[in-house]
């Protein structure tokens, strides 16, 4: 079923169209939400909330931009609201310091010190045991991405999973394109540092 038709049907209040749209996008929405909130249950909750918002606000989607751009703007904002409500505060200063650090270790320790609570804590234990896990590239990559700042994680996810362009990501995150490019570059650099602790890049490729 064409996405355009599904949107028209949804605008007429057809719930089966929402189900079809969910089937198309739910894994992507969940993946992005998971990068931001770092826990499975809240990410699932957010995924549901996002599609409820889509159902309620579909008439405000004017088709000037791609549906997915509109959808992921909702995802990003819903996640930000969730983080605000849970007071998972990545303060401006901690973020800036994190983004300016070239060494991922130093940025991570900075975040750990400044955050009152980190949902990533549960991952830190697991990441140490990554070599004992089965050599699963997807799992390794996702766990490594989860060690980046949530902005870098989201940018990488949107760029590589959803295949958004830099300008589309800039629209979703309301951030200048050059900042997105810089974050993408630093995100890859940080990821390389994380991965090189345990593997060589050739080994993974």
């Amino acid at each position: 079923m064409n996405e355009q038709n599904l949107i028209i049907r949804l605008k007429n209040g057809d719930l089966s169209a929402l189900e079809a749209l969910m089937k198309l996008h739910q894994n992507y929405v969940f993946t992005v939400a998971l990068r931001m909130v770092k826990k499975k249950e809240p990410a699932e909750e957010i995924t549901q909330d996002v599609f409820i918002k889509v159902y309620k606000k579909i008439n405000s989607y004017k088709e000037r931009s791609k549906f997915t751009t509109w959808l992921f703007t909702i995802v990003y904002r819903t996640c930000l609201n969730y983080l605000d409500k849970k007071q998972i505060v990545y303060s401006e200063s901690s973020l800036k310091s994190c983004l300016n650090e070239s060494k991922v270790d130093r940025s991570l320790s900075g975040l750990q010190q400044k955050k009152s609570y980190s949902p990533r804590d549960e991952y830190f234990g697991q990441i140490e045991n990554i070599s004992s896990l089965e050599f699963d590239l997807q799992e390794i990559l996702w766990k490594a991405i989860d060690q980046l700042s949530y902005q870098q994680g989201v940018i990488i996810t949107l760029y590589y999973i959803q295949q958004f362009s830099v300008s589309e990501i800039s629209e979703i995150m309301q951030t200048p394109s050059n900042t997105i490019k810089t974050q993408l570059h630093r995100g890859r650099n940080n990821l390389k540092e994380v991965l090189l602790k345990k593997y060589t890049l050739e080994e993974l490729i």
Partner: protein, 179 residues
């Protein structure tokens, strides 16, 4: 030797290839091992990330969401039948009024129009109190006569009122009435 490639230039290279660089930067890249290594590493991570697949969500997510939706108040859809009914009723009402005006009634109307001139001439002699009483009784009489003569029109306006009232009730209280 020119400056090393900055983050944005490396990003441009990764996105669009060597041609995206200016000739000076391309020349620099040929001679600079550090920049070449940086780009190579970025390209390796880039090709690794291209293999990423989305993580899978619980299959019954839509069902769970439906439960949430059923708790929420239903969307009140825009209903244009009200507007169409209104236009239709007005059209019928006006049509009835127009068709009721026979040539005789039109002549009578013309004669009535001359009445203000007569009043104008005798305006000083008029007993206003008497006129008001007369007008009031005429009004009542004509209203009653009008209502009796135009039963259809009265019926139409009554229906119109019912529709408007229903629409108002439906819009405000439908969510409570039809849960």
């Amino acid at each position: 030797m020119t400056e090393h490639l900055n983050e944005l230039e490396i990003e441009k290279y990764i996105e669009k290839g060597r041609n995206a660089l200016s000739s000076t930067k391309a020349l620099h890249l040929e001679g600079c091992e550090k920049c070449r290594k940086l780009i190579e590493e970025q390209l390796q991570v880039h090709s690794l990330l291209k293999k990423l697949q989305p993580q899978k969500v619980a299959k019954n997510l839509f069902q769970q969401m439906q439960n949430k939706l059923s708790i929420m108040p239903q969307k009140v859809k825009k209903d244009w039948t009200f507007v169409i009914a209104l236009i239709l009723l007005l059209f019928i009402g006006v049509s009835i009024l127009v068709t009721k005006q026979t040539p005789e009634s039109a002549i009578k109307q013309k004669q009535n129009i001359e009445l203000p001139d007569l009043l104008q001439e005798n305006i000083q002699k008029v007993n206003w109190e008497e006129i008001l009483k007369q007008t009031y009784s005429w009004f009542n009489m004509y209203l009653l006569k009008f209502l009796l003569e135009n039963k259809n029109l009265v019926l139409i306006f009554f229906s119109l009122f019912v529709i408007m009232f229903y629409h108002l009730v439906d819009k405000r209280y439908a969510k409570y009435l039809f849960k």
